[in-house]
């Protein structure tokens, strides 16, 4: 199980890093999404991997798993979900405003105004 989780985190991180290095906004957004998946899985695993253990106190439970990483993951999921929505809207806005979805800032044309 450890090997499976570790591979999943590794592959998703690698793909995510590859994608955020692309030049167009769509793959970059996908890349940030994959990175957030990877980190959520990673955070979950920091409480060690157990199967069938209770996270909070119950009478019947004999062993417990660490509940804190689950709370951390929940926070991280909420934040990364909101952030993805923001970056999608921004990328769309930039595309509609400038007609290009390239991520790099070209050298500003000398006649273009910044106000």
């Amino acid at each position: 199980m450890e090997a499976l989780v570790a591979t999943a985190v590794g592959v998703m991180t690698a793909v995510g890093v590859f994608l955020i290095l692309r030049l167009r906004t769509f793959p970059v957004v996908l890349g940030t999404l994959l990175l957030s998946y990877a980190v959520n899985l990673f955070l979950f695993a920091t409480g060690r991997l157990y199967i069938d253990r209770a996270p909070i106190f119950t009478e019947a439970a004999r062993a417990y798993t660490d509940p804190l990483p689950q709370a951390l993951v929940l926070t991280a999921i909420v934040i990364s979900f909101g952030m993805t929505a923001v970056v999608v809207l921004l990328a769309l806005g930039a595309y509609l405003d400038t007609g290009t979805d390239r991520i790099d800032l070209a050298r500003q044309d000398d006649d273009e105004d910044v106000t």
Binding site: G16, I20, T25, V28, T32, L35, S36, A38, V39, F42, L43, A45, T46, G47, L68, P69, L72, T75, A76, I79, S80, G82, M83, V86, V87, L90, A91, G93, A94, D97, T98, I103, D104, L105, Q108, D110, E112, D113, V114, T115
Partner: protein, 511 residues
Amino acid sequence: MMNHWIIAPIVLPAFVAAAMVLWMRHDIVLQRVFSLGATSAAFAIALLLMVFASDGGIEVYRLGDWPAPFGIVLVLDRLSALMVLLTALLALIVLLYVIGSGWDRRGPHFHALFQFQIMGISGAFLTGDAFNLFVFFEVMLIASYGLMIHAGGGQRIRAGVQYVVLNLAGSTLFLFALGTLYGVAGTLNMADLALKVASLPAGDQALLRVGATLLILVFAIKAALVPLQFWLPGTYANAPGPVAALFAIMTKVGAYAIIRMFTLVFPTDSAVTGSMFADVLMPLALITLGIGAIGVLGADRLGRLIAFAVIASMGTLFVAVALFTPAGITAALYYLAHSTFAGAALFLILDLVRERRGRAGDRLRAAPPLEQHGLIAAFFFAAAVAMVGMPPLSGFIGKLLVLDATRAAPMAVAIWATILIASLVMLVGFARAGSVVFWKPAPPPKDMEPARAPAPSDALALGAVGAVLAIMVALTVFAGPVNTYMTGISAQLFDTAPYIAAVLPSSGGVQ
């Protein structure tokens, strides 16, 4: 009985911002009244916290009254009180400028985002929990995304996309770092981390070093330290001027986080990390300073020039931080206060120039003279003198303190040479920019309509710039008392036992 004032700088802007979004979204006057009221109150509270912290005690606020390390704690010590005060003071001045210049009318929700930004920054300074630090970083960043693209425009939104994507990657890195620390040490409370890190078995130390390295990378992104400085010029030069002025404190959040984590949790005498970060930070700080100075010389727009000057100031700041000695941190804190206001002043002046130059914008080329030409030129001159570090303003004293603190450092010759040469290069860059913008006016073209008449409330905007410069004069005049206070802060920082004992009473504070 806990001191509930400690959480006020977080709760107050949060409620005011939410109220603005819900009930006053169409009423700019009401928004201005509430925003100004809340920011003034935040400033008063920050002064009060400063008084609480000035006796050298460390006050802990346990959220929900859960004992640390199980609950989240806010910690008020001298350093966090100073940072919250700087934030509130800067926010108040920037807000006056925004109202005076009418920037808040150019897009929706400026004041709500502004309050959320203050909430995030104050929270990051007050928290005593590493994961909570992440959450406040996110609050601060989310608000900054909105502020950065305020008033829109294609170029600005594209710069905003870059800024957001970079910070998303940074946040992911932050989570990886926290996960690693938690996986090894089993806690994220900073005081508890300090205890656990000090007593870690040798087998876990390598993993912890990885976590610490990831953590310093995240903070270095925020603090624009080479090689992670590349985002700053595009972001700051494309953000609205007053927003860039507020962002002057955001780079300092990164510096604060490094100072806090790497004096408390990973001090240079720690068995885990030793002096490895100090050894790497010093050359990087010098390169940051060099790149900033070269950028100042090579910039073709005033906005980019000021952004590179901010990078250079972060370089100088980190030269002092990288010593990790009480004298170094004292100098760093004085320089931090100075460079926050110097950067903010320059960005506000940049906005004054941009607004008045019409099509020429902030390009470094001859253009018809500005409205209120003499006053703005004088402002620019004073702010540039402060930023470059020439006498008589606070930049000079700050640089002197940094130079003095590095006298005994192993790389003293390289440090002195870099700082002095970079100052000269920046002096040339600023002199050139100032003379092009203010001294070589082109004759006004005949077919063009006259530049816009200054708005009636421009006096408020100009007054705000004057106030920043007045603060720098005050920092210069009262350099002695300020420096004494900063010495108190760094003494408290390096004496970690009281901090740990205050957060974790049961540990007895033994390390």
